[in-house]
């Protein structure tokens, strides 16, 4: 009888404790796998490459107006970090640790640190509400997580304005990001669904992968703002509508119809190939031809 009571007690603890405790442990040092979208994530995307983005008219025009000189001339952009939704795509060496409530031993949050811009982020698991609408937005945003079986679903709001890709494709501060975190042995996968009512007409979905690397030592990123270009105060480099000379480069280099490179939901799905017109890849690849990882991507081959 006594043993039965103890078993019931232990079972009770297990059942009542489970919902608030992490069911999968994500802690550790994680190294990014660049097998997806390596050119974009390493050396940087081509100007005018909007492939795969369900851009709204507003998103496309802001991207078209982008002048890469802005990240140098506008000094406040020099140390502007990746927001958490883009951060996992960038130089994404990642450390995850648990925050444990000493009184209950519950895991109340995951804390992450990433190499790029020394990004710190908290994902709260304790059921706290998101801040009010007029509260401060941040680059990590405000993230809460709930368990769906062994998958952690993370909802992030209160993001500062940032970018979906580093060629000027914007992401607004009205976006909500839903991430699904799963771990399979030594592999971590995060599938992010970005809803941006301003710059996207439908959610953008992308996945990113890491492998466990216990010996990894993340360095200090560091950043200081400097005057880099002697231009008048308040100069904002941009192209007037219709005057950006760089937008066709990508299409011409890879033999794609210009329309296909403009993004938009209508170009997003496989059916588009039926009406895209002929694809005429260049006979000799001259750019980003042998991307097998991060650092060989910038090599040009003939």
């Amino acid at each position: 009888m006594r043993n039965a009571l103890i078993e019931v007690f232990i079972l009770g603890i297990a059942l009542t404790g489970a919902p608030s405790r992490a069911q999968i442990d994500f802690t550790g040092e994680w190294a990014p796998i660049y097998h997806e979208d390596a050119p974009e994530r390493g050396p940087g995307p081509e100007l005018g490459d909007y492939l795969g983005f369900p851009l709204s008219e507003a998103g496309r025009l802001q991207a078209d107006s982008w002048d890469a000189g802005r990240i140098s001339v506008v000094s406040e952009y020099q140390c502007r970090p990746h927001a958490s939704d883009y951060g996992i795509r960038g130089l994404g060496n990642l450390r995850i640790s648990r925050v444990i409530d000493p009184a209950t031993q519950d895991v109340v949050a995951f804390q992450s640190h990433m190499l790029a811009y020394d990004n710190e982020r908290m994902i709260f698991l304790d059921g706290r509400p998101h801040p009010p609408e007029n509260a401060l937005h941040t680059f990590p945003g405000f993230s809460t997580g709930v368990w769906n079986g062994n998958m952690l679903t993370v909802t992030t709001t209160h993001l500062k304005t940032n970018y979906l890709q580093r060629n000027g494709i914007p992401r607004s501060d009205q976006a909500t990001v839903t991430e699904h975190w799963t771990r399979h042995g030594d592999y971590l996968t995060i599938v992010a669904v970005i809803d941006d009512p301003v710059f996207l007409t439908e959610p953008l979905v992308r996945s990113t992968n890491w492998f466990l690397d216990p010996g990894q030592q993340i360095g200090v990123f560091g950043c200081e703002t400097r005057e880099e270009v002697p231009l008048p105060e308040g100069t904002v480099p941009h192209y007037l509508p219709g005057e950006n000379p760089n937008l066709r480069e990508f299409a011409e280099r890879f033999g794609l119809p210009f329309e296909a490179t403009r993004g938009g939901a209508e170009t997003l799905y496989p059916e588009y190939r039926l009406r895209m017109g002929p694809y005429n890849p260049p006979e000799i690849c001259e750019h980003y031809c042998a991307c097998q990882g991060l650092f060989n991507c910038s090599l040009n081959f003939r």
Binding site: A58, Q62, S65, E133, N134, G234, V236
Partner: protein
């Protein structure tokens, strides 16, 4: 088109009379900002309140009708008396609650509390055909580049930014708390409201935003550090002001290019030069649409 913009401005200025008949709202939300400063959000926008042993300073006390709720909210923060009420410009959503706040004063203070503003606010109010009650007129004005005073252990500096939202705009800097109240020179929930009838201009507006950026210092990786409380919209930092300045500069350049090409006001509006910012800055607001904003930029640049 010009008539539409003027009507919108008049609507804004007369709004107090219209909404004054409504039931007072008790929906004042309090957000701690930093140091001694709080942001109180209500129907009239954002009020800054700095508290301490000396008393409290309030910036932009919203409408008259929600003053009781505003005072009630302040009393949850401090029981000290009012010392100064700063009004960043003459629009009623920033001005009309000031008299009620002054009258709410209690306790002995070394100086009679006063309503502070740039002199152009007073001059504009005095020139109105139907001005608001004199009790809300600022009697403690300045006409130079700046005015400062010391309260609750920190310097409070009012900077005049000429010909921006109006010609009487003040930026309020709480130096130790490292908080800036911008009034309507920065309103991230809407396009810049360039009140040309009251001396505003697009160039002055951009200059004012650049001036704010000279004051702000982020703590680390473009976050933290100086906090910026807009006249309307959410609590911000330097980078939000950068984005806003960038947008206004880009739209200014686009409209100027269209003017240089010889387009008329109607043609410029039809070209939709701010269409990529329409959703971001809620250009479907009834009181300040994207087209009204573009028209104001056009008129400011063309002088028409």
């Amino acid at each position: 088109m010009r008539r539409m913009l003027t009507a919108a401005m008049a609507g804004s200025l007369l709004a107090a009379g219209v909404v004054g008949a409504q039931e007072p709202s008790d929906a004042i939300q309090i957000l701690p900002v930093q140091g001694n400063v709080y942001m109180l959000i209500g129907d009239g926008g954002n009020t800054l309140v700095q508290i301490g042993d000396d008393g409290f300073v309030a910036v932009d006390p919203q409408f008259e009708y929600n003053a009781p709720a505003l005072i009630g909210a302040i009393r949850t923060l401090t029981d000290r008396p009012v010392r100064n009420v700063v009004v960043t410009h003459l629009h009623p959503d920033h001005l009309l609650g000031s008299a009620a706040l002054i009258e709410s004063g209690s306790g002995r203070v070394p100086a009679i509390p006063s309503i502070m503003a740039h002199e152009n606010v007073l001059l504009r109010l005095a020139a109105m055909d139907s001005p608001p009650p004199v009790e809300v007129w600022p009697e403690n004005t300045y006409f130079g580049r700046q005015r400062d005073f010391y309260m609750n252990g920190e310097a409070v500096i009012l900077y005049h930014v000429p010909a921006a939202h109006t010609d009487g705009d003040s930026i309020v800097f709480f130096r130790k708390s490292d908080v800036i109240g911008t009034g309507d020179v920065f309103t991230p929930d809407r396009f810049p409201m360039i009140d040309i009838e009251n001396g505003g201009s697009v160039e002055g507006y951009i200059d004012a935003l650049n001036f704010i950026l000279r004051l702000t210092v982020p703590a680390r990786m473009q976050e933290g550090g100086t906090r910026v409380v807009p006249g309307h919209g959410r609590l911000s930092e330097e980078i939000e002001v950068v984005e806003y300045r960038n947008m206004l500069t880009i739209v200014r350049d686009r409209v100027q290019a269209l003017i240089d090409d010889g387009l008329s006001l109607g043609e410029v509006v039809a070209a939709r030069p701010a269409r990529d910012y329409h959703a971001e800055y809620h250009g479907d607001r009834e009181d300040w649409t994207t087209d009204m904003f573009v028209e104001a930029v056009y008129r400011s640049l063309s002088g028409e």
